[in-house]
Assembly symmetry: C2
Homo-oligomer: 274 residues x 2
C-alpha cells in the first residue's frame, strides 16, 4: 500500500503531453498551475536554441526531471550507428546545458534488423556513450517500451531485460525508467521492480484505453483506462524510488483539446488516480 | 538450425484465415490445394450444426489439428464465470465430436477486472474444466496472447506465465500454444520454449507488419513482416515439437482478396518463410 498523493510536489509533466504548447507556453502554464517539474523533449529546445531555452528553463524555477529522449541505437550500417552515438552525445550536452540530471533512452528498433542483433547494438551503443554521460554527470535511463513497439521503436521490451543490461554494463549512471503504459501487463513486474531497486531513475504515468484506437497516440489520462497506477507506484516506492511522477501522454484526442483545461484535468487525475 | 520445409505434410490452416469461406468451402478448397490439416473455429460449426459438420470434416479426410477456441474465463460475477465454464465444456464436447485432439484457450481479460484477479480466475477456470477435458480425451492448450491484448482478450501474455499455470495444474492434458505473432518479441522466448518442452501442443504462424494499422486484424502473411519464423520453429522443434504448422492470419486486407489466390500465396509463403 502506498500513501495517497495529497499535493503536487512530485508532479512532473512532459512537454509532449501538452504538444500544442511551445516551450515558453509550457513554462508559463506549468508554473501558473503550480506544476513544479518538467521533462523536456528535445524538439522543444529547437525553436529558441539551446542557450536561450536553458536560460528560460532556469529562470522559470521549474525542476528539470529529465531530457527526453536519447537512444535509437540500432542501424543497418556502421555510419548509421555512429550517427546515433553522435546524437546521444549531443543529447548529453543538451541535458548538461539545461540542468537535466537524466536522459531517457528509447533504445530503438529497425524493421529488417533481427531482434537479437538490434539488442546487441543497443547494449554496445549504451556502453559507448555511458562514459561520456558519466563524465558530464548525466544519468541514462533505459525505458523498456511495450512489446507492440518492438518492430520499430524499441527492442527493449521488459524491465527484466532492461535490468539485465544495467547489470551487464554496471555503472551508477545507468538505470531504468518504469513507465506504467509499457509495463503494466507484465505478470512479473513486481518482482522485476524489486530487483531494479535503486536503479529506477524515473517513473512515467498515463493509462491504457480500451479500445486503443492508435498504437502510438491514443494513451489515456490516468483513471480513464485499466492500469492500476497506485499499485505500481507502491511497488516502485517499496523499491526505494522517491522521485517525480511524470505525466507523459501521447494523445491525438487530448492534443486537440484546450490545453489549459487538459492541464487542470491532469492535476485532478494525478491526485485521484496515481 | 532447422530443416527447410519441402512439402505440405505439416501445413494446417485455420478456418478464420479464409474467413469469407464457410466450412464446406474451406474443406473443398483446402483439399483441392493439398492442405492436409485444418483448425476449426467454433463459429464454422454453427451453420450446419455439430453432427453434420463433424460428418463433413470426417468425410473430407482432413486432419483436425485443433478446435479454436475455448477460454474467456474471467467475468465480473459468479454467473458469468459459471457460463464460461459451461461454454468450455460445450467446446470440449464439440472437439470430441469432430475428432479434434486439442482446444486452444484464449484465456480472456475484462476491462475493470484487475489483472491479478483475472489471472486467478483463469487458473481457477482451467482447473475446473480440465478433468472434463481429460475424461473426453481432449487436450487444452493455453495460448499466451500479445501484451497489447491484456486489457480485453487475454491476461496470459508470456510463455513463461502460461508454463507456470501448466506446472501448477499439472495434468498431461494441459499444455501451451506457441504463436509467433504473440511471442516473437520476447527476449527470453528461446529459454521459455525449452522449458515448455513436450507441453508445446501447437504452433501458429503469421507475421508482424510494420506499420500495423489495426491491433486485431492486420496480421501479415509469413515473410511480409519482421518475425524470424524459421528460428522460432527451430526452437520448438529442438524442444521436441513435431506437430502441424498452423497458419492463422486475421487480416482485413487478405479477407477482402480472392481467397483461392490467397491460399496459393499461403502455400508459397509456408515453404519460403516458415
Amino acid at each position: 500500500m502506498t500513501s495517497p498523493l495529497t499535493d503536487f510536489s512530485r508532479l512532473c509533466i512532459h512537454t509532449i503531453t501538452t504538444k500544442p504548447w511551445p516551450l515558453e507556453e509550457c513554462i508559463e502554464n506549468y508554473v501558473k498551475a503550480g506544476v513544479p517539474a518538467v521533462s523536456v523533449w528535445r524538439q522543444w529546445l529547437e525553436p529558441n536554441g539551446l542557450d536561450t531555452s536553458a536560460r528560460m528553463l532556469k529562470d522559470s524555477g521549474l525542476r528539470i526531471t529529465s531530457l527526453v529522449r536519447g537512444g535509437f541505437f540500432p542501424a543497418k550500417d556502421e555510419a548509421g550507428r555512429a550517427a546515433a552515438l553522435d546524437d546521444n552525445r549531443k543529447a548529453i550536452d543538451e541535458a548538461a546545458a539545461i540542468g537535466a540530471p537524466l536522459i531517457v533512452l528509447v533504445c530503438g528498433a529497425v524493421p529488417g534488423i533481427p531482434l537479437p542483433e538490434a539488442r546487441k547494438q543497443i547494449a554496445d551503443g549504451i556502453a559507448a556513450v555511458l562514459p561520456y554521460a558519466s563524465a558530464a554527470g548525466v544519468k541514462l535511463a533505459i525505458e523498456p517500451l511495450h512489446p507492440m513497439y518492438s518492430d520499430c521503436r524499441s527492442a527493449i521490451n521488459t524491465l527484466e531485460q532492461a535490468s539485465d543490461i544495467v547489470e551487464q554494463l554496471g555503472d551508477g549512471h545507468l538505470g531504468v525508467t518504469v513507465d506504467v503504459y509499457h509495463l503494466w501487463w507484465d505478470p512479473y513486474l513486481r518482482r522485476d521492480i524489486q530487483r531494479a531497486g535503486d536503479t529506477i531513475f524515473s517513473f512515467h504515468v498515463c493509462d491504457w484505453l480500451t479500445p486503443t484506437n492508435d498504437m502510438l497516440n491514443d494513451r489515456g489520462l490516468m483513471g480513464d483506462g485499466c492500469i492500476d497506477i497506485p499499485e505500481i507506484r507502491a511497488w516502485v516506492e517499496e523499491a526505494g524510488f522517491t522521485g517525480d511522477i511524470e505525466v507523459e501522454i501521447f494523445s491525438n484526442t487530448w492534443w486537440a483539446a484546450d490545453q489549459t483545461a487538459f492541464l487542470d484535468k491532469i492535476k485532478t487525475a494525478y491526485i485521484e488516480h496515481c
